[in-house]
Symmetry: C2
Subunit: 396 residues, 2 copies
């Protein structure tokens, strides 16, 4: 097991991250946080282990490991413990203060898990560490952006194999399976790390024809009926028909971070309306790449995208036809769905080095979904695309 | 979207399930439960939707759907709502009692989700619905067992392709990717539904050589280092070497239920010790198949397995060598890790039509893991194997 936070070369990187988290804690008046979720553990230590990270707003983190995870012999601030209940005793032994307020991951851990951790600090005020961690993770470090750029390159390389994955008479699901294999061989870890309980998915979504407009209970931008009521999302197993589009929105997780990238193909021919909508998606992205400057409220991106869809008389198809969603993008990093959500009335200003996936898509009845999704870094001069790959509507 | 609970042919099946749940509620003195997790939704309605299931201990369930999920026009007891907070108003409008005690899924939902639902019933005592649902789901209906038998058949068919997936010089991960493709083409949904937050995995685990003994923070029986610190489990990407074993423990979810099945192959040759341990695993299974009768405490299976490993002088290798786990199996159904856990001191008696996966495995240094895992139904005369496939140590 590698613990990147212990590597001397990574010391500065993790110091940057701790500083961000401490800053959020200070803003909220939170004296200490106790972290147990995979996502935040990965953020603070670069690895998943069994245990806890305890962080005062004014000290370096202490890492507690529970068997079978083991504290490396030469690790500073890393201790083996049997169970989290001993942490309060450890604090006292080390002459540290029991915090007046303790942050716990209320949006990342199960109720019973949080309740157990609350009982370690009976006298402390309880705060939600999930929101502090999410805000801290919203603006990425250069190292994180580099990781996501690598994701984008792997994902682009995988997508370049899509046309040769297709064979005549294939179903959407059969095509998806061949693309999954290409992604896995390219290094995709095959696990979707996402916030909340409304993001169940296998390795991605392939949508063709009217299935693009099928309702799904999940929080993805496009739906799809799926092939079984136990996972009602994505490909529905129908043969891809000439004149329909095939939208691929596959898993871009290769290294603990993710990129999110959608491209659209068509079989044999496609209607002028679908072509027009696809070009509108690209125009929206070109426009947003320019106007998405630090300081601009996130909602301005949504509003401008909707305005452009209206100007092109494509509002009926924008972000779904029968089933519409009210967002055109989302933050992304360790989790697929990070802050900020690009939606109306979200006044959060864009900040330099936020990473956001923008996916202005359209659903054309009887044709399918069209449009492009890229993952971007917010730069001083506009958006910096991390998912560089041809954006044209391409023939399968 | 298909809602099996609405199909006339399924009416009896779901009535059986409601009866089991109500029985657990009555035992606990819980007047009503409110269900929101995918797993329990699937159990009570046969489908995932966005919404809630509200069940009094003495009435049929009421289903509340939140957009984009929509109540079917002809559905009894199914209502569209905007948000869960309206449920208490709905109860009063329908002249039903606000329950004195309300069960919520404290081991299945996030802290903030449960807290939100608690606020709907400010005056009601809060109980843990997760444990009641788990006990209700422990004994399967004939319909559920048939689903799991189908899983087992699909999984067996997939495993029959393993030798032709292997090509000389492959890594464990490359082999896994080809097997994943076969599983997906056979209908595997590609999503692992598991309880708790310590079960992150892609489509399964392939372990070869010493990686079988690498520590993993997860709750799986065998570990593996994985290929990235963000998912430290399973294949480590090393070339499969002659003289080592390759243990496959892949995803068996094809229809909302799961089977769990492990088989072991070897490359070119394998040590006598490994062969002996593999045969010991098979002997343990044969023995447990006979003694696992309704009424027998679950711990007796663990104790007998350990005793047989000791008799064969293989205790050092049993359930891991450097990293050992203290269980040899687990209940299985909609989730991979259901009740009961087959471990020491679990006095839960076996019940007819429980389904359990038994996995007495061994780790032989420098060779790898050996052993067999089957998923069984507990029958009147002993265990009924749902995962029928040759069990010999097979050459790749």
């Amino acid at each position: 097991m590698i613990y990147p936070y212990l590597q001397p070369s990574m010391k500065e990187e993790f110091a940057l991250r701790y500083a961000k988290v401490k800053n959020e804690m200070k803003k909220e008046g939170c004296e200490a946080i106790l972290i147990a979720s995979s996502t935040n553990m990965l953020y603070l230590c670069g690895a998943i282990f069994r245990g806890y990270i305890f962080l005062y707003a004014d000290r370096d983190p202490v890492v507690f490991m529970v068997a079978p995870s083991v504290a490396p012999a030469d690790a500073a601030n890393t201790y083996d413990i049997r169970k989290p209940e001993v942490i309060s005793g450890w604090i006292e032994e080390h002459n540290l203060p029991i915090p007046d307020s303790i942050g716990l991951e209320m949006d990342d851990l199960l109720y019973s898990e949080v309740e157990r951790l609350m009982n370690i600090f009976p006298g402390s005020a309880k705060m939600n560490a999930s929101s502090m961690m999410r805000r801290a993770r919203m603006v990425k470090t250069d190292f994180e952006i580099q990781k996501m750029r690598e994701d984008g390159m792997h994902q682009a390389k995988s997508y370049s194999h899509v046309p040769k994955c297709y064979k005549e008479g294939m179903t959407d699901l059969e095509l998806q399976i061949e693309v999954e294999r290409i992604l896995r061989l390219e290094g995709c870890l095959g696990y979707l790390r996402a916030a909340g309980s409304r993001m169940e998915l296998n390795l991605g979504s392939v949508l063709s024809g009217d299935n693009a407009d099928a309702s799904s209970p999940y929080d993805f931008s496009m739906g799809g009926a799926g092939v079984d009521p136990s996972l009602p999302v994505g490909a529905d197993g129908k043969t891809i028909r000439p004149g329909t589009t095939v939208m691929l929105d596959m898993n871009g997780g290769f290294n603990g971070y993710q990129s999110d990238m959608t491209r659209t193909w068509y079989l044999e021919s496609v209607s002028d309306l679908a072509r027009k909508a696809h070009e509108c998606s690209r125009s929206i992205l070109r426009e947003l790449e320019k106007i998405a400057l630090p300081g601009v409220p996130v909602s301005a991106l949504y509003d401008r995208a909707l305005e452009m869809a209206k100007e092109a008389e494509l509002e009926d198809y924008f972000m779904g036809h029968n089933r519409k969603v009210k967002f055109i993008g989302h933050g992304i990093g360790i989790e697929l769905n990070e802050q900020p959500v690009v939606m109306p009335r979200n006044d959060q200003p864009l900040l330099e080095n936020m990473t956001i996936a923008l996916e202005p898509k359209f659903v054309i009845p009887h044709v399918g979904a069209v449009g492009v999704e890229n993952t971007y870094r917010v730069g001083k001069e506009g958006l910096d695309n991390l998912t560089i790959f041809p954006e044209e509507l391409m023939e399968l």
